[in-house]
Amino acid sequence: MVKRLSLDNISKFYALVAAEYTVYSPSQKGGLVSLEPKKYFDRYSLFKFQTIMPPKKVLLENVYDLESNPKEQKLAFFGIHLCDVKAIATMDRIFAKDPFYRAKRDDSLIVATGCQPTESCFCHVFGANKHQGFDLFIQEEHDGMFTVFAKSAKGVELLQKSKGKILMSASYQPIGQNQNEIDLSELTDAVENRRLFEQHWQGIANNCFGCGACTAVCPLCFCFDTIDRTDPEGGNCHRSRTDDACFFANFSKISNHDFRPENVDRLYNWYHHKFVRGPKENGDFLCVGCGRCITACPANLNIIRILSAIDNVFDRATN
């Protein structure tokens, strides 16, 4: 079902969604645009640029007590971009059996919107600019009106309640893309052959802090740590799940043995998981090309340049 809505009606539609769901939407906070729970529509709800954190911030929140029963929640993501929608689809496969993820995701609603490519994003490389995986899609037209596409039963039901002209046919505007290109055909082989490029990886690791900022903002990084916390009030112990990242020294330490002792091992592991193990286990790269890691990296490392360089070195080595 496709409807054409005015800005006023979009705002009413937002209220309709907010009546039923807890809506997370891009919001302005101290001059920055972040993903926050918000009750009312404003101009940031359909923001063309990325939020700093992807929806994983909400879906993979820390769990204080893993032995408790997860609370069913009705969440809606309003105004997220197609790269994040694809990341959620991949995450659904990875966390298919996780009760805490399912409790948040099963009844959730995704309202996607179009975006403006930044200099650091490269979603077309991974096919993350396709219009799929959402319940509703809001497209801004040139005349200031909005075309709303409903893809799922949940979406159609909501859209029927809103005022607007029903369109018989409408087409998606293609998502803009920039010049960033990575050759994916040999990427898996190139990343897998660490021995060929030991020097190359070492060079990157020398310029990396190992701070894990890239993993914090990546929509498909989901490492966690399970720790026992004692509640100071009653003295009861809880097994809790907190964010962690493969870049940290403690992550690969087991019984005082470190499986990845150097930063170069940990950095390599990140790329290996995203471009070798990920496709093998889930059939998809664990990267959607949102470019958040490039924006977040304090050491100015650039995943596009690193992958292109590896491709080039591999080409030279094999041909």
Binding site: L32, P232, D243, N300
Partner: protein
């Protein structure tokens, strides 16, 4: 169990931080009898203690004697705050040529006696301190965060200050403070000490864009002994 809380040379801010929210501190008192806490109680006993918390650095002969006495009297010694952990502000004296002859070097507590655990920060994160005390009571190894401030800073949905041209040390500094400074727009000064296995050479290289060599060294002095080599050596070859 019995607890002693001691202060050597410092601002005593960490002790105040423990008492800051008395309701939370009262939960810890369910597990511990405080025998010595001269900031908060009048009658203090010399020991023995199951756990001793020590803040500050030993500067005078009396303080050195007191610290060694505490070590003898207590089963577990935990340092409190940056001064006890790395030397703090007063340890910056070690990096300067002294005007007074024969002045002793400032030593953090761990260089004088053996310590069991360290609660870091200036001031400490009181929740971390309560958690550590409760964990020790239950015979559990306290959980110590070993990731940089950057990770928490990104989770708080703020932009990178280092990229904006501000000399922030968050990328090499141990987290656990919930990135309170950087989230509010102030650069990280590195009070919690360096995270394990970090890239100190890279931060020096990054800061060169914004600061002079002398200023960079001054900023890194907060890490105490960890940066001795880096300040003396200069650049990586």
């Amino acid at each position: 169990m019995t607890l002693g809380i001691f202060s050597l040379t410092c601002c005593e801010g960490c002790q105040f931080e423990l008492l800051n929210f008395y309701d939370d501190f009262a939960h810890v008192l369910n597990f511990y009898d405080i025998l010595n806490f001269s900031l908060a109680q009048e009658e203090n006993l010399p020991g023995p203690f199951d756990v001793a918390l020590v803040e500050g650095t030993p500067e005078t002969r009396e303080e050195l004697k007191l610290l060694k006495g505490i070590r003898k009297q207590s089963k577990i010694l935990v340092t409190l705050g940056t001064c006890a952990h790395l030397g703090g502000i007063q340890a910056q004296r070690n990096f300067k040529e002294s005007e007074v002859k024969g002045k002793r070097k400032v030593l953090p507590v761990s260089k004088v006696v053996d310590i069991d655990y360290a609660i870091t920060g200036c001031p400490i994160n009181r929740e971390e301190a309560y958690q550590t005390l409760v964990d020790i009571y239950h015979g559990r190894e306290p959980y110590q965060i070993n990731y940089p401030v950057c990770f928490e800073c990104r989770h708080n949905q703020v932009k990178c200050l280092l990229k904006e041209g501000k000399p922030c040390l968050g990328s090499i500094t141990r987290g656990g403070c919930n990135a309170i400074c950087t989230t509010n727009g102030f650069v990280c000064l590195g009070c919690r000490g360096p995270v394990e296995q970090t890239n100190l050479y890279k931060i020096k290289e990054m800061l060169k864009k914004y600061l002079t060599d002398k200023e960079i060294n001054q900023r890194l002095e907060i890490y105490g002994e960890f940066v001795d080599n880096i300040i003396k050596e200069g650049d990586r070859h």
